[in-house]
């Protein structure tokens, strides 16, 4: 998945995120959530998934609570709050679906973070917004550099001024910041002059990137297009219709709807399939050495 052409993986995440946010049907949400969790586990291992879940879970609980406590529409009252408002089944179910949607979106974003790294994103936006992506790629490289320089300056200040009281610490921080900012700005001007000397802005910019379009990309994007079309057809033919208020009405699991859900499920497992295929290919080639 990480080796795929950036346009293909961007297309995949765009489709998955939009469908996830658009359709609040429990089946779609559950499939998306499982797919996102599985993909994240395949990309980062169980450890990465566990780390994300640790702070996604409270968010989900909060979402359910928020909807149940502040949303009093719906006809099935579960119990009554002290102020006379009802906690309804409908708003609780809605909260569960919204929580699932949010968690799925966050987990898919986690996968995207792994796959569409900053260099891929730059390769993607480079032809469309050349100046903006140049700006970002420079800033991306500078941020760690500034942090390191801040650290260095602070360490030197610590040798010069060994006081441990808060005032000394603050003075050292401010001195380090001041020196770093001065250095940074002068350095920026030097960089810019050097860019200009090498012909920045003279002609069209070319980009270095390592994106290749091979057989994998063709197969993946064909599968993506087909499954997206099928999923959208399923959604528009009513396999993902959901009504929460006043009472719950979801599309039932008829044969047609099940088929549509299977398309969505296949779409969500595409990253796992691709990662599995790559792992298999690696094992086969490793065993033949």
């Amino acid at each position: 998945m990480k080796q795929l052409h950036c346009a293909v993986s961007f297309g995949f995440f765009a489709v998955v995120l939009i469908v996830t946010m658009l359709v609040l049907h429990p089946a779609y949400i559950a499939i998306s959530l499982l797919g996102a969790a599985g993909s994240l586990a395949a990309l980062t291992g169980w450890h990465g998934l566990r780390q994300r879940i640790r702070w996604v879970l409270p968010l989900m609980v909060l979402t359910v609570f928020f909807n149940a406590a502040f949303q009093h529409r719906g006809v099935t009252a579960l119990w009554y709050l002290p102020n006379g408002n009802a906690v309804t089944l409908e708003s609780t179910v809605f909260g569960l679906c919204a929580a699932g949607m949010l968690a799925a979106a966050v987990l898919w974003c986690g996968c995207m973070h792994q796959v569409l790294t900053s260099d891929k994103l730059m390769a993607l936006t480079g032809p469309l917004l050349p100046s903006v992506s140049l700006l970002f790629s420079m800033a991306l490289r500078m941020a760690p550099r500034i942090l390191r320089r801040l650290r260095e300056t602070y360490d030197v200040q610590k040798v010069l001024d060994t006081g441990r009281d808060p005032v000394s610490v603050l003075r050292r921080c401010i001195r380090a910041l001041s020196a770093t900012v001065s250095w940074m700005l002068e350095h920026a001007v030097v960089t810019a002059d050097s860019m200009k000397a090498r012909g920045y802005g003279v002609g069209k910019r070319t980009h270095f990137h390592r994106e290749r379009w091979g057989a994998d990309e063709t197969v993946f994007s064909a599968a993506l297009l087909l499954l997206t079309a099928l999923t959208l057809a399923g959604i528009f033919s009513g396999s993902g219709t959901e009504v929460f208020y006043p009472s719950l009405q979801f599309s039932p699991p008829t044969a047609m709807n099940l088929a549509a859900w299977c398309c969505w499920a296949l779409l969500c497992t595409l990253p796992m399939l691709h990662i599995g295929k790559e792992a298999l290919a690696w094992r086969r080639s490793a065993s033949s050495i």
């Binding site: 939009i18 946010m21 658009l22 609040l24 968010l59 909060l62 979402t63 928020f66 909807n67 502040f70 949303q71 529409r73 809605f94 909260g95 919204a98 929580a99 949010l102 979106a105 966050v106 974003c109 986690g110 995207m112 973070h113 917004l129 100046s131 903006v132 140049l134 700006l135 970002f136 420079m138 800033a139 991306l140 500078m142 941020a143 760690p144 550099r145 500034i146 942090l147 801040l150 603050l170 401010i174 910041l177 001041s178 900012v181 001065s182 940074m184 700005l185 002068e186 350095h187 920026a188 001007v189 960089t191 810019a192 002059d193 860019m195 200009k196 920045y200 802005g201 929460f244 208020y245």
Partner: protein, 235 residues
């Protein structure tokens, strides 16, 4: 495209397309897709600024200075990663806007939110942060860029109000749209109330940073601006 044409283009994009989008959202999606509509609206409001910048063909010096300021804002967020809500990003964005004008302030604000999320994790909240910081930077440019050496008190008051009344509530409302599909006054008030403490810390952090390093940092930025003539004719 001429300067006027570009402004008009941006205005059309913002004033026509966003209401059209909201209308579409309320008609087609039965008034429930608040989050998707709001994200699309944010993208539509960020786009004109980026296109404007792109079409202007920025100079190398401008580009590198802007990248440096963005990186500084992102690095300052990383430097204070141990303290929740106590972040100097807003202060850096405000100073950038005050020194280099509206457009630079907006770009540094939106850019530093996007950039720092590469280190802290992108998510559904990124567009809100981008718009929030972008607007703060833009307003800082509007209020302070035309005067030489703005006063410390003015900067601090602006910083407090911008974070406490603009950025914080904006993100609170954003999180309501994220977690609750149905938006009513009660839910929004509850979210705003629960965000007050967090926003107050963030706003006071901004004030502290502006009071401590605001003036010296502005002097440095002004010095570069005057010495090398960067971004001076942008206004």
């Amino acid at each position: 495209m001429s300067e006027r044409g570009r402004t008009r283009f941006a205005a059309v994009l913002t004033l026509v397309l966003i209401p059209a989008l909201v209308l579409l959202g309320s008609l087609v999606w039965a008034n429930r897709q608040f989050y998707l509509v709001s994200i699309l609206a944010i993208v539509l409001s960020l786009l004109p600024m980026l296109l404007r910048f792109e079409r202007r063909g920025p100079q190398a010096r401008e580009l590198v200075i802007l990248a440096t300021l963005m990186a500084l804002a992102a690095a300052s967020r990383a430097a204070f990663s141990f303290a929740p809500a106590f972040k100097p990003v807003a202060a850096v964005v405000i100073l950038s806007g005050a020194a280099f004008g509206c457009e630079a302030g907006f770009l540094v604000g939106a850019g530093s939110a996007f950039l720092s999320n590469f280190f802290f994790g992108q998510g559904p909240w990124t567009p809100w942060q981008m718009l929030g910081f972008g607007v703060i930077g833009f307003l800082a440019g509007l209020f302070f860029a035309h005067r030489y050496q703005p006063k410390r008190l003015g900067l601090c008051i602006f910083g407090f109000l911008a974070v406490f009344l603009l950025y914080g509530p904006m993100l609170d409302v954003g999180s309501v749209l994220m977690v609750s599909g149905d938006v009513n006054r009660e839910v929004i008030l509850a979210a705003l109330a629960s965000g007050v403490a967090f926003n107050a810390i963030h706003a006071s952090a901004t004030v502290i940073f502006l009071a401590l390093v605001g003036e010296p940092l502005l002097r440095k930025l002004d010095r570069v601006k005057i010495k090398y003539g960067i971004l001076t004719d942008a206004e």
